[in-house]
């Protein structure tokens, strides 16, 4: 009877607590930690966005860096053209969505590894295009973007809050999707596309929708990043490593779940910071060890990516109305 309300209460409490923590950290931390916090928020956004396609829908996408870089460049170029911050970010969002739509309609026909490889290739191509299309992107030299005025501290806090804002929105969106018909159809698609068609799901449209949503979010994050660092170059924003790290974070937390991406991002970023600060020569190796450990030690979290009773049980709880409003 009262199972559902109590869950809701707990959730609300958690949300408040988290928000409080984020704000408290933001205003107390030194600038470096502030930046680490911003990076964390950004990773969280990317993870949540990836989770829509990679987790809910079960399509192993490595396109993150492609959308991130695209957003960074659209935003950066727009700002250099004199566009106001918000406008530049909006442009990036729209650009990301449009690109996702065209890319998705081509790649989403592919299954499994072919899709994965295709998305990686897209990142490579886009980096080289950015490297060589001097007229637009300034080529390999990269482009300077107007620095946001204000003291390092103010600027730091500003971007910290913006990123976490975006993270919050994305999280809410994910939670909503997980409960919605749309999310339901994505889960059906992940398990059996034919059966999904058979029950009347417009598989292609659902897949495109998910891909567009994800791409839109990622490229927005990219544009915010661009205005934050004030200098971008192809090898930096079109970095395949990003495309791979994000899914790893999600797996760490548990793909296909609502909170997994967030948890994963937090754990991963924390480990990474600690590692590269303390192991000048071996951090990549240790990063590798972390990844390997994730796969061996938390296979539940990992394997849940493609078949997960845990996830469906949980969502079952979310989706089922309380006994009260069941048909007698």
């Amino acid at each position: 009877m009262n199972a559902r309300p109590s869950i809701a209460v707990v959730r609300a409490a958690l949300a408040l607590l988290l928000t409080g923590a984020v704000l408290a950290f933001g205003f107390s931390a030194n600038n470096y930690l502030l930046q680490a916090g911003t990076t964390l928020a950004m990773s969280a956004v990317l993870c949540l966005a990836w989770n829509i396609v990679g987790g809910f829908m079960g399509y192993p996408s490595f396109a993150t860096a492609a959308f991130f870089g695209l957003g960074a460049y659209i935003g950066g170029i727009a700002q250099d053209a004199g566009a106001w911050l918000g406008l530049a970010w909006l442009a990036a969002a729209v650009g990301g969505a449009v690109f996702a739509a065209s890319l998705g309609s081509v790649l989403l026909g592919l299954r499994g590894h072919y899709f994965a490889i295709g998305t990686i290739a897209v990142v490579e191509v886009m980096r080289e295009v950015a490297n060589n299309w001097e007229g637009l992107t300034g080529g390999a030299v990269g482009i300077n973007i107007p620095i946001v005025p204000g003291s390092p501290r103010e600027v730091g806090i500003f971007f910290y809050l913006v990123m976490w804002g975006l993270a919050a929105i994305t999280f809410a969106l994910t939670a909503f999707i997980a409960k919605s018909k749309f999310g339901f159809s994505l889960r059906c698609i992940r398990q059996n596309e034919n059966a999904a068609r058979m029950v009347g799901i417009d598989v292609f449209r659902a897949k495109c929708a998910a891909f567009i949503l994800s791409g839109l979010i990622v490229s927005t994050a990219g544009s915010i990043y661009a205005s934050m660092v004030a200098f971008i170059e192809p090898k930096d924003v079109f970095n395949v490593l990003l495309s791979i790290e994000i899914p790893v974070m999600v797996m760490l937390g548990g793909a296909g779940t609502i909170a997994g991406p967030l948890v994963g991002a937090i754990l991963y970023i924390f480990l990474k910071e600690v590692v590269w600060v303390n192991f000048i020569n071996f951090h990549t190796a240790i990063l590798g060890i972390i990844i390997i450990t994730v796969i061996y030690v938390v296979p539940r979290g990992v394997l849940r990516l493609f078949q997960g009773p845990a996830w469906s049980k949980m969502s079952a709880r979310l989706l089922r109305p309380s006994r009260a409003d069941r048909a007698p």
């Binding site: 059906c188 799901i201 997960g308 069941r326």
Partner: protein, 269 residues
């Protein structure tokens, strides 16, 4: 006169050299239960795949209640009111039994909200007698129950035409009887049913009309009595030797069926 539920005109499908379905034309009135039979590899399942849009047609047309659905993609055909069960059951293995049926209710038929779908799903779970398994994961069910789940999922789509592809394969006789009982109940709801089987005995107890496919072509179409007398059918399908015995069986089945119909009416009144 009212349009037939399903009308096929010269439906044909070739895979390379092989002709899996060969120029099939047939018309099935609303509310009938029709048996689609034939030896393995006769093209029964391909025919279903063609109608439900899973396999593109080489030639021919499909009319559902008078409207041409030849070119529609599977999900639209499903939304139009044609449901099917798969010969090899295809549940959403990661989902609970309830969610599986909800999937049917959400995207076809009334296409209600999550909550409505939930209620409807529970209704059909009760209908097929799976309600107590609602929260189990679909992968935990026995084969018989998975077939029922498949049926419940299709029913949740509130179809007006239902293909049952080998719903009885791999079930023991008591399970089969339950299944047949279910099918009758469904039929009584006014759903046109086309039941695909290769075990004749099973369909005979249900249908008043048999369609026999052989090498993709229509071999015979009509009341079981005639069809089973048809020498060609007996030769192609049963082999002369068993002809007599099956005829005998068939008469028993018919009587049994008549009885049941009577008793049903009794209850209805």
């Amino acid at each position: 006169m009212t349009e037939p539920a399903l009308r096929l005109e010269g439906l044909t499908r070739r895979f390379g050299g092989v002709t899996a379905v060969d120029n099939v034309s047939v018309s099935i009135p609303k509310g009938e239960i029709v048996g689609l039979v034939g030896p393995n590899g006769a093209g029964k399942t391909t025919l279903v795949n063609l109608v439900t849009g899973f396999v593109p047609k080489t030639a021919g047309q499909v009319f559902f209640e008078g409207t041409d659905v030849t070119r529609l993609p599977p999900h639209l055909i499903a939304r139009n009111g044609i449901a099917r069960t798969f010969q090899i059951v295809q549940p959403f293995a990661e989902m609970t039994v309830l969610e599986n049926v909800m999937a049917g209710a959400l995207f076809a038929g009334q296409r209600g909200t999550m909550r409505e779908a939930d209620a409807k799903a529970r209704h059909f779970l009760e209908f097929v007698g799976l309600d107590r398994f609602a929260d189990y994961s679909a992968s935990e069910l026995s084969l018989a129950d998975r077939k029922r789940l498949e049926l419940a999922k299709s029913l949740a789509m509130e179809p007006r035409l239902l293909f049952l592809d080998e719903v009885n394969a791999g079930l023991n006789s008591s399970e089969i009887d339950n299944a047949l009982e279910l099918i009758r109940k469904v039929s009584r709801m006014g759903v046109t049913i086309i039941i695909i089987e290769h075990v004749l005995r099973i369909v005979l107890s249900l249908v008043k009309r048999l369609i026999v496919l052989h090498h993709g072509a229509m071999l015979s179409d009509g009341p079981p009595a005639e069809v089973l007398k048809d020498a060609a059918v007996i030769k192609a399908y049963l082999g002369t030797k068993f002809g007599k015995r099956h005829e005998a069986e068939f008469h028993q089945q018919q009587e049994k069926y008549q009885q049941e119909l009577k008793s049903d009416r009794g209850t209805n009144e």
